[in-house]
């Protein structure tokens, strides 16, 4: 009645085993052209030139955990008296892994009173966001934040 052929069972297990092995062969995945850390570095160099980057003064507010990368609130503020002698000329924001390293450039001046800008950005992956401020004495100050994104933006399919 229960005539199970041991040979075929062994063969089956053998085949299943080799099939499992085959699937561990590296799968080539196609990824969109992401901005690499190298692109981030060169985008920063485009703005900063040969000047030194200092850490501090800049505060970058981005939520550390983002559910939807399509709209991420972001605020950059810089500690500055905003006087004609000492003010923030511009604020530049970059990312590491979107298709493009730039997010936005904001140009302000002593009349701004407070060096703070807010907007909503897109993030295509969990990554580092960098904000750089250029002061009136042409020094550059930097702040960076690591953000975890669960739903990526920019490269998804259009429905």
């Amino acid at each position: 009645m229960h005539d199970v052929n041991p040979t075929s069972r062994r063969r089956f297990l053998g085949l299943a085993g080799s099939a499992a092995l085959c699937s561990t062969v590296p799968i080539v995945t196609l990824r969109p052209a992401d901005a690499t850390p190298a692109m981030l570095a060169s985008a920063i160099r485009n703005v900063v030139g040969e000047a030194d980057l200092h850490t501090g003064k800049v505060k970058l507010d981005v939520p550390p955990l983002v559910e939807n990368g399509n709209t991420v609130p972001m605020t950059v503020s810089v500690t500055s008296p905003m006087t004609p002698e000492d003010h923030v000329k511009s604020i530049h924001v970059f990312n590491e892994k979107n298709p493009q390293p730039n997010i936005g450039n904001f140009y302000l001046g002593p009349h701004a009173g407070r060096a703070q800008v807010s907007t909503r950005i897109r993030l295509a992956d969990s990554q580092k966001v960098v904000a750089i401020a250029r002061l009136s004495d042409d020094t550059f100050w930097l702040a960076s934040v690591d953000v975890v994104v669960t739903l990526a933006a920019c490269t998804e399919e259009v429905i």
């Binding site: 969109p32 730039n102 997010i103 302000l108 800008v117 907007t119 909503r120 490269t155 259009v158």
Partner: protein, 106 residues
């Protein structure tokens, strides 16, 4: 149909620092997405936003595809006198919109 939302206080004291909030409705298509059939969706974004007060530029932004749809930008400025804020958005495919807001400073 594009439309702008501007939030500027109607009155302020001289020397006050006021917040200017702006929102322009725009799709901000980044140009990196494709349809189910594999076609690339061309880029369509706002590339530049400028704010002038009584004709003088007080704030400018370069926008990139990494700015979310319906760009919402806020910044600060010092109330120096009564006048008019003029806002201008320029983008791909000849996109150009303006808006304005008045403030009276005492």
């Amino acid at each position: 149909m594009a439309s702008a939302l501007i939030n500027v206080p109607k009155t302020a004291k001289r020397g006050d620092i006021i917040e200017v909030k702006t929102l322009m409705s725009h799709i901000m298509e980044p140009g990196y997405r494709h349809t189910a059939s594999g076609q690339m969706v061309p880029r369509d974004i706002i590339t530049s936003f400028t704010c002038r007060f009584n004709g003088t530029e007080i704030f400018r932004t370069d926008l990139f595809p990494a700015i979310a749809a319906n760009p919402f930008i806020t910044f600060f400025t010092r109330a120096t006198g009564s006048g008019k804020f003029e806002f201008e958005w320029i983008g791909d495919n000849g996109f150009s919109e303006t808006a304005s807001a008045s403030i009276s400073v005492e």
